[in-house]
């Protein structure tokens, strides 16, 4: 009897220890800022996950534009997950904050099993991160040559006016 209880407790401890609880995400977000240097827009998120019980989630999957894809990991830095988003034109990458849902192994398999739209929505994601894209810049609104021309034009016009007064 005692052995059964011990075994049950061990299994419960093992199961609880496997999954990551109340994860905290630290996100490093990078996106294309200069539209003259680049022809398309791209963004990359670097996520570090900290779990309360010290476990790492294993594989994370991200929901990008409706498609759920796995996050990249690197052998050099085990705790980091990378998500890449690419857009064909600069306008396609929405500026501002975009929410990206994350799924771990359990929630991903639940998502795969869901057959209806409601069931898919009912799956609770592992977490959510934000992609912050400040937008792309095409350069200054008015080029500096415009101001130079205005300034020197004003000087010329003032001189011309005085000259006409003298001659006229």
């Amino acid at each position: 009897m005692f052995r059964v209880v011990l075994a049950a407790l061990a299994i419960i401890a093992l199961v609880n220890g496997e999954t990551c609880e109340s994860p905290e995400f630290k996100v490093n977000s990078h996106s294309t800022r200069d539209a003259r240097l680049t022809a398309e827009s791209a963004a990359q998120l670097e996520i570090t996950v900290k779990c309360k019980n010290g476990k790492q989630p294993g594989t994370l999957y991200a929901d990008i534009n409706g498609q759920v894809v796995p996050c990249a990991q690197t052998p050099a830095a085990p705790g980091k997950y990378f998500i890449g988003v690419a857009a064909n034109t600069h306008k396609e990458l929405a500026s501002g904050r975009t929410k990206i849902k994350l799924y771990d192994d359990d929630s991903y398999s639940a998502l795969r099993k869901a057959r209806t739209e409601d069931a898919t929505k009912a799956v609770k994601p592992f977490g959510q991160v934000e992609l912050n894209h400040p937008g792309v810049s095409y350069g200054p609104w008015l080029p500096s040559e415009f101001f130079a021309v205005c300034t020197f034009g004003l000087v010329w016009w003032a001189a011309y006016r005085e000259r006409s007064k003298i001659l006229g």
């Binding site: 680049t38 791209a42 000087v155």
Partner: protein, 195 residues
């Protein structure tokens, strides 16, 4: 007649047998840069696209491109040059972005990235494939790029500073003589009025 029939039979047989090859998936990897220009000390963004064509999932995908961008010529800003993914489902695609900063200018050539994957979870035979490459690229110096694209405000301010003696000095001479002349005219007028 017999020859034609046998050829037709062989053709149908090869198509039917050939169908079994479609059970396996093949991973296509593209490697492109989204930069219009490559400039020294400015961001150099590379986009890797992985496409799973075919009906099955591929597993354990490793992408390695560290040999194309050695650390002494490129600084890694965002992303990683050796990435791995657990799986890629049939018909889906992945994007991986790496942002580098070229340290040197000149012509630099980059080769393809090496990608390895397993076609099934149980079968640990590793399949190797190569990405596309964009060949030789010219990295311009930051001076060349600034000449075309920077805002030139400082250049114009310097130009104004250098041009101002040519404008201010004659203006000052004219203004001095004009104020002297006007002072004389008002003095004459006031003296005439007094008389």
């Amino acid at each position: 007649m017999f020859f034609e029939r046998s050829v037709v039979f062989l053709a149908i047989l090869s198509v039917a047998l050939g169908q079994t090859d479609d059970e396996e998936s093949f991973l296509f990897v593209t490697k492109q840069t989204i930069n219009r220009f490559l400039v020294q000390n400015k961001e150099f963004t590379i986009k890797y696209g992985l496409y799973n064509s075919g009906p099955t999932t591929v597993y354990n995908i490793h992408l390695n491109d560290a040999h194309s961008f050695p650390a002494d010529q490129y600084e890694l800003l965002v992303g990683t040059l050796s990435a791995k993914w657990e799986r890629l489902n049939a018909g889906t695609n992945l994007t991986h972005i790496v942002v580098l900063k070229p340290k040197q200018s000149g012509i630099s050539n980059s080769t393809y990235a090496i990608v390895t994957y397993q076609k099934s979870e149980k079968n640990t035979d590793v399949q190797k494939t190569y990405s596309s490459e964009f060949g030789d690229v010219y990295i311009m110096t930051s001076r060349e790029y600034d000449r075309r694209f920077s805002s030139h405000i400082i250049d114009w301010l310097l130009f104004t500073a250098m041009a101002s003696p040519c404008i201010v000095f004659p203006f000052f001479l004219w203004f001095k003589s004009k104020s002297k002349y006007e002072a004389l005219v008002t003095k004459e007028k006031s003296s005439k009025k007094a008389q």
